[in-house]
């Protein structure tokens, strides 16, 4: 079995501490082999220097979204951040995601995200749709499939300035859950209307389209352009379009669902 040659030692500064402690960056020197990623270095540190270093990870293949952290200040999956891509000569600084409460070392409490998810109205297909209605062309589902690529790494939630800089977590869903709502709304069979929820509880209006979320997405989902902007337009069409508002005043109707109903010719 061939072994890789150690190319160099690199200096790491890794955040250590819990919610109650005075945290600090601890220095580690790690032998680096070809192709090594930051998560490999963290594992090396656990096995040689710090057996209790808290790191959350699972697949090590960028498929599960567990090993999110901030590397040199940028939200990254540590399993796909190659050490050779980071500036040589400078230490590599690894710290936990700042948006979420610290558990220990590099691990944060991301349970808030799961709570947000549970408040979104689930997939709602018609109960009596005939078998033929469940036939869709590949083109009709490609956008939904793009959204469903999300691995829930929460890096977009971490970078989002609405969540990061303000104590506004509860009113704003954040990019990940706007992607989820968009994926449900654009599903060919879904019938729920989440427009009022998006406006009043999700506060989609808080997003001012800086596209930071799109930039950090390891799955390359076009979060802002393909998910958030269409949702913002839907809310605007339903609630702020003067023609529609006048019509509603006259007829007493509620904002309409702007999507095509399931089963319509497409």
């Amino acid at each position: 079995m061939p072994y890789a040659r150690v190319i160099a030692f690199r200096h790491f500064q890794v955040y250590r501490g819990g919610p109650e402690d005075e945290g600090e960056f601890v220095e580690y020197s790690v032998p680096v082999e070809e192709g090594m990623v930051v998560l490999d270095a963290l594992h090396w540190i656990q096995a040689h220097d710090a057996p209790d270093l808290a790191v959350r990870w699972n697949c090590k293949a960028a498929k599960c979204g567990s090993c999110s952290a901030e590397v040199n200040g940028m939200p990254r999956l540590t399993c796909k951040t190659r050490i050779s891509d980071l500036p040589a000569g400078a230490p590599i600084r690894v710290e936990p995601m700042r948006t979420f409460p610290l558990v220990k070392d590099l691990v944060t409490d991301v349970s808030w995200n799961y709570e947000v998810n549970n408040r979104i109205e689930p997939f709602s297909p018609p109960a009596d749709a005939p078998e033929e209605a469940w036939r869709w062309q590949q083109e009709d589902i490609e956008r939904v499939q793009e959204f469903r690529k999300c691995i829930e790494c929460f890096l977009c939630q971490d970078i989002c300035h609405v969540l990061r800089n303000h104590e506004t977590k509860n009113p704003f869903l954040g990019p990940r859950y706007l992607v989820r709502v968009a994926g449900l709304d654009m599903h060919p069979m879904d019938q729920a209307d989440r427009t009022r929820y998006l406006k009043d509880e999700g506060n989609v209006g808080y997003c001012n389209i800086t596209k930071c979320c799109t930039e950090v997405c390891p799955e390359h989902i076009k979060i802002t352009d393909n998910a958030i902007i269409p949702l913002k337009e839907r809310v605007a069409d339903s609630y702020y379009d003067p023609v529609q508002a006048a019509w509603r005043l006259v007829t007493g109707s509620r904002p309409r669902d702007t999507r095509r109903p399931a089963g319509e010719d497409r």
Partner: protein, 604 residues
């Protein structure tokens, strides 16, 4: 649901599911639908379990692409692939029910790739007669776990995330609950339950080169064994033919069989398409005879039309392709990094990116290889455990009352070798059956008494023990040494003498385990977590080695260099493993007799 307890946080449920991958989620959904109060415990965050890494697809005879497909053919393929050692009733139920389970996922919101007429698309895989794997590109597992996760949450299941189970609680007659700790704090937690379902996945973390994550330490196998349940088929460990071999940090990472399903060609250093040489004689007629015929098959697949061409030799079963690659490398025809070449770059680049998006990203980002422009380097990687808890095929009940098992932790379904795609269907079919049977049992069973405080006290003492040891072993080093033993002595090819040496070394490792010292606090302490997992890995490793030593033949994933052929007598027997006092007892027991009407499906 909290019950007052003198010392421990105690939760009470009708049904407790341990493991939050596909099987555990599907079981929880079904038990909740039956009206049970359900708790679901997982070592990781919800949605991160190993199912998320499944790539190629879920096997089900939907007959959307090949209209001749049927449950009977799927049953036959599964039994032939398993070298007839499968529990026939499990294979039958699996083949019959998988199509409904896949359609059900679609009704719950899963969005599979489509055929031209708008139905669920199916792709070919090794050992399957017809294109049979429903899929979403090469991220099928993510689609499944997300769909099941959402359904679970909506079903009112209580989810305990990042919670490790270290003990099952028992009384004389039955399993009564479980004990473990919250990973984030290290605080203990006890569960009282009328029925417990194990859905903990596999054991692959005991090998050096593995596609499995840290979670796969055989917890459920070991919990069942220690609680007195029987394990079967533990010698059958699947090595997937294609894992990444370079760079070192990703060695073992899975390269989906879908690459070969879409037409990927295996070649050695000399550009030789070596799989032609390794097709077993009794199956050769199922494969193409020439490069030209294999190319015609790939072309027809691409265009979605029928063909009389037969499939490429790369689609032989996993056990066979793994041995072929291993042999090529051992005989000096491997690549520079000890693998062989897998090439899909002859297909149009946009097609490759569309069909295999995560493979494209994985190689580009982790290995700096563009798979649309050149070949991948691949080699075998420890992937799947065929053996596990012996279960009743219809109910997933173990041999211990109140204890159930589904998914990879259960044994019997796949016999001596699993076909690709059959694990995702397995976990749906038997997850559902386990959930239904456990809920029915819980509805009828008398209540379990108060949690036995003495058992809890002993369990907590065991949790605390490694913090108090003065000198001692480092858990990471012990793990590395275990992996070295299993990789070199209990791998793809085995011999009696290697296995005997392995058993000696495992005894030494067990003695060292009792001396492991943990530093730091119990809060999110990976060294401490590893300590318990090592105990489970050592049980499973011993069970694999003992069962492999006992089976003096080669069958499926179990290849003995000193017993190279099939032995018909061993074809009638399963290895069983159980706890006998302090010792592990391994004996052979007769395989359930295959009924004539099903035997006819296989021989015709």
């Amino acid at each position: 649901m909290t019950q007052a307890s003198p010392r421990y946080e105690t939760r009470v449920h009708d049904v407790l599911v341990i493991g939050a991958g596909g099987a555990g989620l599907r079981a929880a959904i079904e038990a909740a639908a039956a009206g049970s109060s359900v708790g679901l415990v997982g070592k990781s965050l919800l949605g991160k379990a190993h199912t998320v890494m499944a790539e190629g697809g879920v096997a089900a005879a939907l007959a959307n692409v090949a209209e001749d497909d049927s449950w009977q053919t799927h049953f036959r393929d599964t039994m032939v692939g398993g070298k007839m050692l499968n529990n026939w009733r499990m294979a039958q139920l699996h083949a019959q029910e998988a199509p409904d389970r896949v359609r059900e996922l679609e009704r719950w919101g899963a969005v599979f790739d489509r055929t031209r007429d708008g139905r669920i698309l199916q792709r070919p895989f090794g050992g399957h007669t017809y294109p049979r794997l429903a899929h979403v590109g090469d991220r099928t597992g993510l689609e499944m776990i997300r769909t099941l996760q959402d359904r679970t949450v909506q079903s009112g299941v209580t989810v305990y995330m990042e919670c490790t189970t270290t003990h099952l609680l028992t009384d004389d007659d039955r399993v009564t609950g479980a004990f473990g700790y919250w990973r984030q704090t290290g605080d203990p937690i006890a569960f009282s339950a009328k029925a417990v379902i194990l859905a903990t996945g596999g054991i692959g973390r005991s090998w050096q080169v593995t596609s499995n994550s840290w979670e796969y330490s055989g917890d459920g196998h070991a919990l069942a064994y220690r609680a007195g349940a029987e394990l079967i088929d533990m010698e059958f460990v699947q090595f997937h033919p294609t894992g990444m071999v370079w760079p070192p940090g990703v060695r073992g990472l899975l390269v989906t069989e879908a690459v070969r399903g879409e037409g990927g060609i295996l070649r050695n250093r000399d550009e030789d398409r070596f799989m032609w040489k390794y097709l077993p004689d009794d199956r050769r007629h199922e494969y193409a005879e020439t490069d030209e015929e294999a190319s015609r098959w790939v072309e027809a697949l691409r265009e979605g039309r029928a063909t009389d061409a037969r499939q490429p030799p790369e689609l032989s079963t996993r056990d066979n392709v793994s041995r072929a690659i291993y042999t090529e490398v051992r005989e000096g025809r491997g690549s520079a990094h000890g693998g062989v070449f897998l090439d899909i770059s002859y297909l149009p680049a946009d097609l490759v990116r569309r069909k295999l998006p995560s493979m494209y990203d994985q190689f580009k980002e982790l290995a700096a290889v563009d798979i649309t422009a050149g070949p991948m380097e691949v080699g075998p990687t420890c992937h799947y455990m065929m053996g596990g808890v012996r279960v009743n095929a219809d109910t997933a009940a173990s041999t211990r009352v109140g204890l159930y098992a589904a998914g990879e932790v259960a044994g019997g379904m796949h016999g001596a070798n699993r076909l690709g795609g059959n694990s995702l269907s397995d976990l749906l079919v038997f997850g559902r059956r386990a959930g239904a049977a456990a809920a029915a049992f819980a509805a009828e069973a008398p209540p379990v008494g108060d949690v036995d405080q003495e058992q809890l006290r002993r369990a907590e003492e065991e949790l605390a023990a490694p913090f108090d040891r003065p000198g001692g072993e480092d858990p990471y080093r012990l793990h590395a040494d275990l992996q070295a033993v299993m990789q070199s002595l209990v791998g793809i090819f085995r011999t009696g003498s290697d296995l005997e040496v392995a058993l000696e070394r495992l005894a030494g490792l067990r003695a060292r385990w009792a001396q492991v010292r943990v530093v730091g606090s119990p809060a999110y302490n990976p060294g401490w977590n590893l300590y318990f997992e090592l105990q489970n890995m050592l049980v499973c490793s011993e069970a694999v080695a003992r069962s492999a030593l006992q089976r003096t033949e080669s069958r499926g994933a179990h290849a003995r260099l000193d017993h190279p052929g099939l032995d018909p007598e061993w074809g009638k027997r399963n290895s069983t493993v159980s706890l006998d006092g302090e010792a592990m007892r391994v004996i052979a027991k007769p395989l359930p007799e295959l009924p004539d009407e099903l035997r006819r499906l296989i021989t015709t």
